[in-house]
């Protein structure tokens, strides 16, 4: 592999993703939207390039750079052209841009320097080591490595199907039923190579950097001042467990976190600022989430429900919760009837719904408390968040935007707490394993709650038509 091929892959990723972003969300007139197009575009681009690999080059992976790469570049360029052509008729008047105060520049420079320090260490370390964490080689990258070295993508089937059809071009494994978007993306990043693990690991470094840019842009678009948005970006980028997932690439949780937050912030911009084109970003997030990990289906349903909830006409508002619960029930029944894999995972977590006795709850609660407050995982996030929400309760409660984001995060968080305290899933809390990774999936949203809850008092939400 040459450096030029590597560069071409990263440029094609960005070109396709940012093109799709501006085609969906509109021409980026403001700086905030350009940051969103850059960060969100890279995330969408990596996923879209992975899909192109599956569609265009599954039977000849040596043709990935030419087929998928060229196609990505062409589609990306066309998307940019479309967005430019449609820019006048689409864009609304630009919102006033808060200026950077003179005293803030020093703080911003300090925070950027600290972020750069993080970035350098994470980048260097990601390039040093091969694939290390367990599920990375056992689940997510195992398929991709076999495909790349075999030169083609074979379908994954159950052990029974595989062993029963000895001449079929199929494979099996512990994660045969898992979504394959991450392995497709890994194949894309391996284009032109014979599987070089540190280069594949850079996919997660790119994701981490893109997620920070996206959040800075989204917070600025939501009216957060530059210093506060920078501080939020630094807080997000300095959370130790998030850093770990960036440098020890190979797990799906950071992808879920990034895409869920991307969808939730777009939902916020649509529901609070009336930016209808953000619904397109919500739709992309809803499409991607189930393709990343089985739990992604649950997050996708929650995003969809949030949209339905906001879209209901005013005269139905009193019945929103009833309607929301009804829709949720119907969706879950449909998923169970269709045998979607995530329902199996949910059943495994719940393990027939057995509840623990009080003694077990005590052990689980202690482990959960240790995970949140007594380890290195989160810096001071779980101290700062309750303090900020309590301290500023009157102000953020008046902000429709913050209230909605808190509601969006609070319900799944409470469900997670219930899961890890009262069901057999408590074993994941007691072993410090899945509990932290599941919490990582909502961590960008928790940081966003912190940023929005601490917004300056003179910044308020724009009125919107839906109330």
């Amino acid at each position: 592999m040459t450096a030029a091929t590597l560069l071409a892959i990263w440029v094609a990723t960005l070109l396709l993703g940012s093109g799709m972003w501006v085609a969906v969300a509109g021409w980026p007139r403001q700086a905030a939207d350009r940051w969103c197009a850059l960060g969100g575009g890279w995330i969408v681009g990596a996923a879209a390039c992975g899909m192109l690999v599956r569609v265009l080059a599954a039977n000849a992976l040596n043709a990935v750079p030419t087929r998928a790469g060229l196609c990505a570049a062409v589609i990306g360029a066309l998307c940019w052209a479309t967005a430019w052509w449609a820019r006048r008729s689409v864009d609304a008047l630009p919102a006033p841009v808060p200026l950077v105060r003179r005293g803030d520049r020093l703080w911003i420079a300090l925070l950027l320097a600290l972020l750069a320090w993080h970035g350098w260490i994470l980048f260097d370390d990601a390039l040093l080591h091969p694939t290390l964490p367990w599920d990375a080689w056992a689940v997510w990258l195992g398929k991709a490595k076999a495909w790349v070295l075999a030169g083609r993508i074979d379908p994954s089937v159950s052990y029974e199907d595989w062993i029963g059809h000895p001449v079929a071009a199929t494979r099996t494994g512990v994660a045969w039923m898992y979504p394959e978007l991450i392995p497709w993306m890994a194949v894309w990043m391996a284009a032109g190579t014979h599987w070089i693990e540190p280069l594949i690991g850079l996919l997660w470094f790119g994701l981490g950097a893109a997620m920070l840019l996206l959040h800075y842009g989204q917070w600025r678009a939501l009216g957060v001042r530059p210093l506060a948005a920078c501080a939020g970006t630094y807080v997000l980028g300095s959370i130790p467990l998030l850093d770990v997932h960036v440098t020890l690439g190979g797990y799906a949780d950071l992808w879920i976190a990034a895409v869920l937050s991307m969808g939730a912030h777009a939902w916020l911009r649509w529901s609070c600022l009336g930016e209808r084109r953000q619904l397109g970003i919500v739709a992309i997030a809803m499409l991607l989430l189930p393709l990343i990990k089985l739990e992604g289906s649950v997050w996708s349903i929650i995003l969809g429900l949030a949209c339905v909830f906001r879209a209901l006409p005013p005269h139905l508002r009193a019945r929103r919760f009833l309607i929301g619960a009804g829709v949720l029930l119907l969706v879950v029944i449909a998923c169970i009837a269709l045998g979607l894999p995530w329902t199996g995972v949910a059943r495994r977590y719940l393990d027939t719904g057995r509840f623990f006795d009080l003694g077990q709850i005590g052990v689980s609660a202690a482990s959960l408390a240790a995970a949140l407050w007594a380890q290195w995982n989160w810096n001071l996030l779980w101290f700062a968040l309750p303090v900020a929400l309590w301290w500023n309760r009157h102000r953020w409660w008046r902000s429709r935007m913050t209230r909605r984001l808190v509601a969006f995060v609070a319900l799944p968080f409470v469900v997670m707490l219930g899961l890890f305290l009262f069901t057999s899933a408590a074993r994941y809390a007691q072993s410090y394993s899945a509990v932290n990774r599941l919490l990582l999936q909502i961590t960008p949203l928790l940081v966003s709650v912190l940023v929005l809850a601490l917004r300056a008092p003179d910044v308020d939400d724009k009125p919107d038509a839906t109330g």
């Binding site: 052990y159 512990v174 380890q375 001071l380």
Partner: protein, 399 residues
């Protein structure tokens, strides 16, 4: 002095006292612990001798030059029945200690049968490292032997390339003291902690189920310190409203950055270990230098053995442990391989002819061309049979 200044001075005085008390509490200092140690026993490195591996004394030091066959090394010395309770603080100095090795302190007491082993921070420089042994339940009675063991970092280091020669300079056992306990706590907070499997899920316990006593993690201690500062600001400085909010925000900001600097130091330490392990080899070869190099080599050998098989050929693997199987399959890619499991109902008559069966880290099992599989006997040809790995091709099922 104005009233405001007096309150400011009182605030800082109270803060220093409260934080110092917190630090002493966290370090496990009791009211009757002396400020300085009232005695110590110094052991030169040359007093130790190699139990495993090769080590030669040079002046007052011990040069450890090679590991044993299992790639670990151990150096010990006999002690004249040293009273453990009187000397609970251990400090040690090494020079050129390799970044890819873990370090354990081992000791034996007069009334204990087994050698006790505890994991201690590996040195990253020639500075002394201090460890408080008073919380170790086995550190009691008369200690008759002590030493240090080194081995490649678990779950990370390629064992054959982990060792480099190093020097044991000196070991000291001190009496309990404030300074010893504080040094030990600080040493634990700044210890080098390389990546492990659990790192992707939790940063804190060295491993799941780790029951060794630890000082409280720094984020929790900083949070308590922050709470104290906020309380004192409210009580003594009498900050209220926006001024109090600004103080709290600033305190949180400074505490966050302080913790982040500690985390960056830790992260950089992990990176240095990785650089030590993989930095000198080209990018595309780093994945070949893994902690389970034996499995990787066996998988590479299998790929060569089966290079003429069609790519759809099914290969079933049996091995000694689930992790071994998963790692073998990963290393053996792109072979079309799966862990051997019970056959489905449709194949109750046995495996299709041509299927390859691999047994790794298990003894060969075919006898007279027959291999037990599930509750059937398969007729097989032996492609290879060895102490590490055996490979068979299924010919059919014994009627």
């Amino acid at each position: 002095m104005t009233f405001t200044r007096r309150r400011g001075a009182a605030f800082f005085a109270a803060l220093i006292v409260a934080w110092a008390a917190l630090l002493l509490l966290v370090a496990g200092v009791r009211w009757d612990t002396p400020l300085l140690a009232d005695g110590q026993r110094v052991f030169a490195g040359s007093r130790f001798h190699a139990v495993f591996g090769t080590a030669l004394p040079e002046g007052q030091q011990l040069n450890v030059t090679a590991p044993a066959d299992d790639l670990s090394s151990l150096q010990t010395t006999q002690l004249p029945e040293l009273d453990a309770a009187r000397f609970p603080i251990l400090s040690y100095r090494f020079e050129d200690f390799p970044g890819a090795l873990e370090l354990s302190f081992v000791f034996r007491t007069a009334d204990g049968d087994d050698v006790e082993t505890i994991s201690v921070p590996a040195p990253t420089s020639s500075r002394a490292i201090t460890v408080d042994l008073s919380a170790i339940p086995a550190w009691k009675g008369k200690v008759v032997e002590m030493g240090f063991a080194q081995f490649p970092i678990t779950q990370l280091a390629p064992p054959r390339s982990a060792f480099r020669p190093f020097t044991l300079t000196s070991v000291t056992l001190h009496g309990a003291s404030w300074t010893g306990k504080l040094k030990s706590t600080f040493g634990e907070w700044t210890a080098r902690v390389p990546w492990r499997f659990i790192s992707i899920s939790a940063l804190g316990p060295d491993e799941i189920g780790d029951v060794a006593p630890h000082a409280p993690r720094l984020p929790l201690v900083v949070a308590f310190a922050l709470g104290i500062a906020i309380l004192l600001a409210w009580m003594i400085l009498r900050l209220r409203g926006r001024r109090f909010a600004r103080f709290v925000a600033l305190a949180f900001g400074i505490a966050w950055i302080a913790l982040d600097l500690f985390w960056l130091r830790d992260l950089d330490g992990k990176r240095r270990v990785d650089r030590d392990l993989w930095g000198a080899i080209p990018l595309e070869q780093r994945q070949d230098r893994v902690e389970d190099i034996d499995i990787a080599e066996a998988a590479a050998h299998l790929k060569v053995l089966l290079r003429r098989e069609p790519r759809t050929r099914h290969i079933l693997l049996s091995s000694s442990a689930p992790k071994t199987s998963l790692r073998f399959i990963y290393h053996a890619a792109p072979l079309n391989m799966s862990v051997a499991a019970a056959l489905p109902e449709a194949l109750r008559e046995g495996l299709p002819p041509g299927t390859i069966i691999v047994r790794y880290d298990m003894p060969g099992a075919a006898k007279k061309g027959l291999l037990a599989f599930g509750n059937r006997f398969l007729r097989v040809t032996v492609l290879e049979e060895g102490p590490e790995m055996s490979v068979y091709r299924v010919l059919g099922v014994k009627p």
